[in-house]
């Protein structure tokens, strides 16, 4: 499946930020062509439907390390830096960006910011918004601007980095980022629990709130997703029921104490199966959880953002609809891979309508996360306007007054 | 530029400094305030009104502006200063060591004096003349006055009067005083002048009996003395001791206050006692301040200043003293839940906060539940209850809510004023909690008795 099949999109690969800025200034002055910033092309199907015509601004050459004062635990890189590359560089110094990025061999840091990608660790470490300490970007008119700086604590000026988080390339092209890093933990283990019902899962999750342990991540998956994840991790894990998988990091004795502790805490909910996964295997399992949100080749992947307390209601319905469900359960973030049987837009709409009945529109969102590129023109990314939507439009108008940056997509974010 | 000042001060040099309240206060004391605002949320009145004018920082700013003649002492400005409880919670919160009490107290004395000169003194009204001056300083008189109340309570006539709303016929302030009256216990016989230590003698202390407390809470005084004895203290109680003078000083009658101080100076033999024990926080705070006050009152001889300073250093709150002495653990169980309210004049004025808690923790079976906002004034604050009824009520209710939230059966307070206020609020809302002095509980435990309430 190539996302670039139908529309006609040329490519521009700038060698430097100034070159990119110059190109965009000219475009705004003369050509007025639609521009699509692209990084690792991992999310293009949704962000930048192929049917559209224009120029892809490819950041692949903007991949330098600008500054890495190792002991300060900060790094400044250009926005096209691939995540696996970044991991390699900081990992060599015993550091990491505590963020889970699927397809890290393709995804770029700029893309991670624009799509606000994250994974299981968000429960304890937050998301990319918490790690960007400085940013440079080029707005629709070609203005190269920055905010923040290279120190971890800084309140000079407005925090423009935040507006680019989740901006899907519609406000400005991110060109350079300064990030806050963390030291790598000594060890990691996961505990795989099987429970009999959504109700029990809900009770177990409620107990996490006051658990004596401090989990790094709490992942849920239903039977359909669990078997795929276990298979992906090449592990023999029972997957017939609802799964909760809890992750701990730190010194070995601390991790072991916690894996034992959670098992005893959750004993009251009569798990059908409890299994601790350690070392290499734990890493494989963890990676499988990270990749799963994008890994499936189903027609549509949905993402629901819910209050954790309201999540299981949604998941129960989704499971009944034969959707493979994974959730960052303590955060209320749910991914659902629609079944192959959803083979037409109508089917998809119907599933949506059923799911929506379980969501309180005031505190929950249902979005398209990935989809078949042929459908992306017909599906709004956000099924309901997010809080502040009117202001978002004003941001768009202020930074990209001529609507040159991935603009059709922006207009379609909510309505088609 | 200093916070609160324009470029220079004072502006109008022709004005008689006597007409500018606070002009005698050493200006450095204002300068200690760096305007950081860390004290604001510690201030009960600010918590209630949210108005900077009702905050410590705001009041210091206002007083200083009056001294600098940036503002007149208008009714509004005065109102904000009058609303201050003088609880000194702000002093505890201040990182800069501002002595707020040493600003507001002399400032108020100045205002009262100015008023007196202009013939609109509060000292002239019947309430101040009769109740505050003639009655309060003298336990015997208070006790006499309370006789009818006691009789009424015994015969339940008070209830009848309340029910028939007859009390509403009383003047406002008397009515409030009536509302405050606790269920009185029969007055105890007078204490002897010397009481021996139990067991090995570990200290020799004098005991300050206080006027209101000896009249209304004589049983607390008895309990305190017994606890001291149980801890190996010989206790002497000079008959010639007098009221601490706090009420007088705070309402501007500084000469009267000085007289009381000198009487006390004469009453206590400092040389052969280890400390003078006080069990009423309000009196303790005043007594410990004798040295400062002597500096501020006009016409005190150098010799008296020195002696009063020495006298002041001998006063110890009973909990403070016992904690330092090393308390003998009591054995009797008191199987109740209790919560400790920090009297302003203990925690803020005397910095006595942990000691009473540590003592109470020694009592077997007593479950101490932390009180939210325990250091925020209950609204009693001396005669505040009578002069600022509205704020006093608001703060009383706030305290009541916090107390009821703990679910405790006993409220512990180390100050008569607080006890009166909290007790009255509890009665008004028909709550069966007992308001006890820490010494009452310790005494019961030493004697192996259980509380009855």
């Amino acid at each position: 499946m190539s996302p670039l099949s139908s529309g006609s999109q040329e490519e521009f690969v700038p060698a430097s930020q100034t070159e990119l800025s110059r190109f965009m200034t000219e475009n705004a002055a003369v050509d007025h062509r639609q521009l699509f910033p692209v990084g690792g092309r991992t999310s293009l199907a949704v962000c930048c439907p192929a049917s559209q015509t224009g120029i892809q601004l490819c950041t692949s050459q903007l991949n330098r390390v600008v500054d890495y004062p190792i002991r300060d635990l900060t790094i400044t890189v250009e926005a096209g830096m691939r995540i696996d590359e970044l991991i390699k560089i900081v990992s060599a110094e015993g550091q990491r960006l505590p963020l889970d990025v699927p397809q890290s061999n393709r995804a770029t840091i700029g893309g991670v910011i624009a799509t606000n990608i994250n994974g299981p660790k968000r429960f304890s470490y937050g998301t990319i918004r918490d790690y960007v300490i400085g940013i440079s970007a080029i707005d629709g008119m070609g203005n190269l601007f920055k905010s923040g700086g290279r120190v971890v604590k800084n309140v000079a000026g407005y925090d423009l980095g935040k507006m680019l988080v989740g901006s899907l390339g519609t406000l400005a092209v991110i060109s350079q980022v300064s990030l806050n890093l963390r030291p790598k933990p000594q060890s990691m283990s996961m505990v795989w629990f099987q429970f009999d019902s959504c109700q029990t899962i809900d009770q177990a999750l409620e107990a996490v709130v006051t658990s004596g342990t401090r989990p790094i991540a709490v992942e849920y998956c239903n039977a359909k997703a669990a078997s795929q994840i276990a298979a992906e991790a090449r592990l023999e894990l029972p997957a017939d029921h609802h799964t909760l998988c809890v992750c701990y990091e730190g010194p070995e004795n601390e991790v072991r104490w916690q894996t034992d502790k959670i098992a005893s805490e959750w004993n009251q909910f009569s798990p059908l199966h409890v299994q601790t996964v350690e070392n290499e295997e734990a890493t494989r399992l963890y990676d499988a959880f990270t990749e799963y949100q994008t890994s499936s080749d189903d027609p549509v992947t949905i993402k629901a953002i819910l209050l954790p307390s309201q999540m299981m209601k949604f998941i129960e319905t989704a499971t009944q609809l034969n959707i493979a469900v994974q959730a960052h359960a303590a955060d209320g973030i749910v991914f659902g891979h629609l079944p192959d049987s959803a083979s037409s837009l109508d089917d998809v709409q119907q599933i949506f309508n059923q799911l929506k009945t379980t969501i309180d529109p005031k505190t929950g969102y249902l979005n398209i996360y990935q989809c078949e590129s042929d459908w992306s023109d017909s599906l709004p990314l956000f099924c309901s306007p997010p809080a502040g939507w009117d202001l978002m439009k004003q941001f768009k108008n202020a930074l990209d007054p001529e609507h040159l940056l991935n603009s059709q997509r922006f207009n379609e974010l909510v309505e088609i | 530029m200093k916070p609160g000042s324009s470029s220079s001060h004072p502006v109008d040099i022709t004005k008689d400094p006597k007409e500018i309240p606070g002009s005698q206060i050493p200006y450095e004391k204002f300068l200690d305030c760096i305007h950081c605002g860390l004290c604001t949320a510690a201030c009960p009145t600010y918590l209630e009104t949210g108005n900077e004018n009702d905050s410590p920082r705001g009041r210091i700013y206002l007083m200083r502006a009056v001294v600098d003649q940036r503002v007149e002492l208008s009714d509004a400005v005065r109102g904000h200063l009058d609303l201050c409880l003088d609880c000194r919670s702000c002093e505890t919160a201040c990182p800069s060591g501002v002595q707020y009490g040493r600003l507001i107290e002399p400032f108020r004395v100045d205002i009262q004096k100015m008023d007196a000169r202009q013939g609109k003194s509060s000292q002239q009204d019947w309430f101040h003349r009769w109740i505050l001056y003639r009655l309060f300083p003298y336990p015997s008189r208070i006790r006499m006055t309370l006789v009818p109340a006691r009789v009424m309570q015994t015969l339940r006539i008070d209830k009848l009067m309340n029910a028939l709303k007859l009390t509403s016929l009383l003047p406002d302030k008397l009515k409030r005083m009536n509302d405050l009256l606790p269920r009185l216990k029969p007055a105890e016989p007078d204490l002897p002048e010397v009481l021996p230590a139990q067991g090995t003698q570990r200290a020799r202390v004098a005991f300050f009996t206080g006027c209101v407390s000896e009249a209304m809470y004589s049983h607390v005084n008895r309990a305190t003395v017994r606890v001291l004895q149980a801890n190996g203290c010989e206790v002497v109680i000079p008959k010639t001791q007098a009221c601490c003078g706090a009420i007088h000083y705070h309402s501007g009658a500084d000469q009267a206050a000085l007289e009381f101080a000198l009487k006390n100076l004469a009453a206590f033999e400092l040389d052969d006692i280890d400390a003078i024990i006080v069990n009423v926080a309000g009196c303790g705070a005043m007594l410990k301040d004798y040295g400062h006050i002597a500096e501020e009152i006009e016409g005190v001889s150098a010799e008296h200043k020195e002696q009063l300073k020495q006298l002041a250093s001998k006063f110890k709150d009973v909990s403070e003293f016992l904690f330092e002495l090393g308390p003998i653990a009591p054995q009797g169980e008191i199987p109740h839940s209790a919560t400790y309210h920090d009297a302003c004049h203990l925690v803020h004025a005397q910095k006595v906060q942990n000691q009473p808690r540590k003592l109470l923790e020694l009592i077997p079976g007593l479950n101490l539940i932390p009180l939210n906002e325990s250091t925020i004034c209950c609204g009693a604050a001396g005669s505040y209850n009578l002069t600022q009824p509205e704020m006093a009520d608001q703060l009383g209710k706030r305290k009541l809510k916090n107390i009821l939230d703990t679910g405790a059966q006993i409220v512990i307070s180390g100050n008569v004023g607080c006890t009166l206020q909290i007790d009255s609020k509890l009665r008004q809302s028909h709550q069966p909690l007992w308001v006890a002095h820490p010494m009452e509980l310790l005494d019961l435990s030493y004697r192996g008795q259980k509380p009855a309430f």
Binding site: M392 | D32, S96
Partner: protein, 502 residues
């Protein structure tokens, strides 16, 4: 106070009305506002406005013409609409602890004080958030959570009195930011009244919302994006255990290296507070804690987490301190001992008060490893100007707070303090840092903005400001310098702030 002629240069800010006391529009405005907040919710007489002429920053003063105390979002919105109708500037004030003059009503106008909006609207432990009104005192939220196992993590040193609304406006940090982050990391959403009176919601109680992270943009706006009327904040799990240590080092360099090595080991201390030679001497003179007078640096290290992990972390830290020539280490394992150690840190400021009649605290940031350089520079600056400068600061994130001691009655010294402060901040920038880590730009550091950011950066920030506040009717002349050269519409700084501890 505002020079109207220079105001017109600022294209985005039209001339706003100046209120004449006693004039008809003034009376009418008072009448209308009283209609909204009631008689007990408004102040307009000069004697009661005086205390609102400055906040924790006392160099510049300007009293508002009217102060209102709204109790609901609707009242805030109605007030703002009336201000627009009368074309009168307005701004928000919380507890007034700002150290950069954030609450200075330049040009007078209406001050909207939020201290009466202080309710907790919802506590939800299951979903780990609280919804509070903006006037809620930071510490009161954490107090309300006592016993639940949760707290509100951002704890500026002013937490006992500052408000959540003020924290959001200034993106407050505090001693625990190294491990727990600053305010923006803990704000999930908010409600605000825009400068035209519209009520908007950004973010929400869910872990994220689709689209641009606008509540993220809102945090740190220093009061220029309208009035925050509700905040949805993340609640954080209480640590199970603490360990606190006080380590005495021979040099700042040793102490800084020890910090780096501790962090490299995977241990992120919850607090890392450093006192330099100068302040050690001051503290000793005043309180006699028993620090060696010739020590170069004292480091307060605190770790928290699960009890099982504590002892291993402590011995690792001890080992690394030893490796870096620590002279002595004091450990606190009980809550009482912990209090005692923190007392030496907290009393540092009381000690300064005893050394000198006036002092001025700066707020610069450098990359942590550059701490020895900046401290050496500060020492040189101290020698160069003949001023005593001492340092006590959050070392973990490189946020220095040099304290310049002087006597404000000496005009000559005042000038020296201003120059020395400026040089130190310049040096922070040169070392790759910032001129403010937590106190904000406000009016105080507005002149630095054009040194940190170029024209395009500032223009983009202005575009964003104009989305919220196009007429600059809300908290005018803050954060962004008016463009069109160095036209000083601002109050110019003539005196260093004599300011508070952190």
């Amino acid at each position: 106070m505002v020079d109207d002629t220079s105001q017109t240069i600022n294209l985005s800010a039209p001339v706003l009305e100046k209120l004449e006391a006693g004039s008809r529009p003034f009376s009418l405005l008072i009448q209308k506002l009283t209609g909204i907040v009631g008689k007990t919710g408004i102040l307009y007489n000069a004697d009661e406005l005086l205390v609102y002429e400055c906040d924790g920053y006392i160099v510049d003063k300007s009293a508002p013409d009217i102060v209102v105390f709204p109790t609901t979002t609707e009242q805030v919105s109605a007030t703002v609409k009336i201000c627009n109708e009368f074309n009168v500037p307005f701004l928000a004030r919380g507890a007034g602890t700002s150290l950069s003059g954030g609450c200075l009503p330049i040009g007078g106008g209406v001050m909207i004080v939020l201290t009466r909006m202080k309710q907790i609207l919802e506590l939800n432990l299951r979903d780990r958030y609280a919804i509070v009104e903006p006037g809620m005192v930071n510490l009161h939220l954490t107090n309300a959570l006592k016993g639940t196992g949760y707290h509100y993590a951002p704890d500026p040193s002013s937490q006992g009195s500052c408000t959540i609304g003020g924290n959001i406006a200034t993106n407050s940090g505090g001693p625990h930011t190294l491990k727990y982050g600053v305010t923006t990391n803990h704000v999930l959403g908010l409600e605000a009244v825009l400068p035209d009176g519209t009520i908007i919601e950004l973010g929400g109680p869910t872990a994220e919302v689709p689209g641009y992270d606008l509540h993220g943009v809102y945090v740190g706006n220093e009061g220029t994006f309208g009035i925050c009327t509700k905040a949805i904040v993340r609640l954080t799990r209480d640590p199970e255990a603490h360990r606190t240590m006080l380590a005495v080092f021979q040099t700042i360099g040793d102490a800084t290296r020890a910090i780096s090595e501790i962090i490299a080991e995977g241990i992120i201390p919850s607090a890392l507070e450093m006192m330099d030679h100068g302040i050690i001497q001051a503290v000793e003179e005043a309180f006699h804690f028993g620090f060696p007078l010739d020590a170069g640096a004292v480091l307060l290290i605190e770790v928290d987490g699960l009890e099982v992990a504590m002892d291993a972390e402590v011995s690792k830290i001890l080992e690394l301190c030893n490796k870096n020539n620590v002279r002595e280490i004091q450990r606190a394992d009980t809550p009482e001992e912990r209090m005692l150690i923190w007392k030496s840190r907290k009393q540092a400021f009381g000690a300064i008060g005893r050394l000198s009649p006036s002092y001025c605290t700066q707020d610069g940031v450098v990359p942590r490893t550059r701490l020895p350089e900046i401290l050496e520079f500060i020492e040189q600056t101290s020698a160069k100007y003949g001023l005593r400068i001492v340092n006590v600061f959050h070392a973990g994130d490189g946020n220095v707070h040099p304290i310049l001691l002087f006597d404000e009655r000496d005009q000559g010294q005042i000038q020296l303090v201003l120059e020395a402060s400026e040089e130190i901040l310049e040096k922070c920038l040169e070392l790759g840092g910032s001129v403010t880590g937590e106190h904000g730009i406000g009016v105080e550091k507005i002149n630095f903005m054009s040194r940190i950011f170029n024209e395009t950066d500032l223009a983009t920030m202005e575009k964003v400001r104009n989305i919220f506040n196009p007429r600059q009717i809300c908290s005018r002349d803050k954060v962004l310098p008016p463009h069109g050269s160095g036209n000083a519409t601002k109050v110019t700084q003539t005196h260093p702030a004599r300011r508070a501890p952190h």
